[in-house]
Amino acid sequence: MSKALERLVNLALFLAEAKEPVSAASVRAEVAGYPPGQEEAAFLRMFERDKDDLRRMGFALEVDDDGRYRLDTSATYAATVDLTPPEVAAVRVAASALLCDPSFPYASDLRLALAKVAAASGRVSRTSALIADEAPEQQGRTVSILTSAIEARKTVDLSYENALGEKSERAVEPYGLFMHDGRWYLVARDVGKDALRTFAVGRILEARPNRVKPRTPDFEPPPGFDVSDHVSLPFQIGTQPPVEALVRFSPAAAWRAKSVSAGHGSLERNDDGSVDWRVAVVSLERFAAFVVENGPGLQVLSPPAAMEVLATGLKRAATAHA
């Protein structure tokens, strides 16, 4: 690494110090590390790779019409940002917890980000994370592959095993990823079925992105695509048409409305401090269980069918323990 490191650092310093745009020829003449007597074509390839490396590091290299290079300093260097001590602590806790989480897919980039924004010494809190608990390494690795494919808009061949244990091969256009209840999910168009599907990343046995023409996109995601539209609460999964339910959080429980609703449906505060939550429900049974599990302080006001399912269920639970 040390030769390449020296050359890259020298190149970065040279560009940073240059008062005017510089040509490839002057880079070759001035920057230590390019082998003397190297053929022109070999030098250009090496210089090309070095420029890519610098750009990956965050150096904004511009090239003018004459093929000369300059560093856009305002786009390269971070502006100072004054974070309060609690904010710095929050960034460091979140980042250092996830750095060691095998199910967090962006750990290596996070490490570099942390080095850039918050590497100041100081006590590191005791912290850890395991955001996906089942096969965390597999989920982290697969999400990392899928993220690259989403960004480059490349199709992916999936070997997938469904909940019934049936294996299949599918070509998909990946649009988005989300984390829910400790599992990563992929939202993608199943090309063969011409339909949008949600895949549990833990069930993807293998993900093979199309490596042909890596810089040319294979598809465009649907306009306005937002992965959060595909995240469901447990009672929103199923094929029946949804009905709207109204749940009231008592004034004492109102502060939990935001976290319980998790961005689904709408919340409205009433004068007495209670909060009304209107939300789409597919499975009344699961909805009833959800209300009980997230109580106390939740009251179902409609639809009547949901109230009935809830009453029947609670009576059953009481009877079974009488």
């Binding site: 650092v9 260097y77 570099l112 608990d133 009251q299």
Partner: protein, 325 residues
Amino acid sequence: MPELGVRDLMAVLARLSPWCFYEIDEIARSIGVDVVQLREGLETLSTCGVAPYGPGDCLPLLVQGNRLYVTGELPGVNGPVRLSAPEARALAAALQSAGFSAEDNLTRRLLQAAATVTFDAKDLERTVRATTSGHSPDVFEALSQATATAAVVRILYTRAGATEMTEREIEPVALYAERGAWYVTAWCRRADDWRTFRVDRIASAGLTGERFEMRSTDWDAVGLSGPSERFTGARTATLRFRDPVAFSERDWPGASISGEDQDGSLLVEVPYGSPDWIARRVASRFGTVVVLAPQEVRAAVTALATATLAEVLPGAGTEPSTDLG
């Protein structure tokens, strides 16, 4: 430990100040790289510079033992280089999972100042959601600050299944994320014992201004040897699952199957801390899961089902039915 790369060294370089010295092992720890590799990398850095590469043209770095001395002005490096798009994505995703959305003040300010100009955290949110629990960012900030500085925090906490908020002073020692939720482990002055609190059940958290002395570093004794430890309650309940397929250890942490009933039901031992917690989970299974023992949990389920019935459906019959069981 990951291989030290050029990017790490450039990131370190950008954060150094002239005429200062640094402990190399501290730098290594703060960015999670191997200290030996870092020392070698810094030695290599000290030979880099600009033409004609005389003594005054090289980076003014000197490595001696564990110390890195910066012996002059650093040429050409005007501070930290902006985060590349993948780095910004990683940071935004980490912040997301700690409860800070793209719209939150911290995320916005940090990424605007530090990330490459082409990065948009809102675009990221439309394709990647690493969001976990819905706690308040203010609470998370206060707890982070408190664990880093050994500061006492006053919290308003609602135990799972409880109606009343309780005010407690806690001495937080660790923050964990697991399966969609953050937890803080602390010495609770109210309970006079170690407790783990779910962060999304803390309505507010404020530093009292008091510092605390760490009561233990025996993390195994505190139950901090691994996040899952906290599920190991002192007591155990015996549950019967009418449908064996409905049981998953993931839903009942720490549970173990103890046998099978004659009718095919599954018997499971589940550790629990508070009867309210387990009673609520059992009640939400609407009779398909039944507590066989102990009696205190059976009674808690009945009480909870009856009370919930009255609360959720005012006016509905509260008498347990006999025809539905």
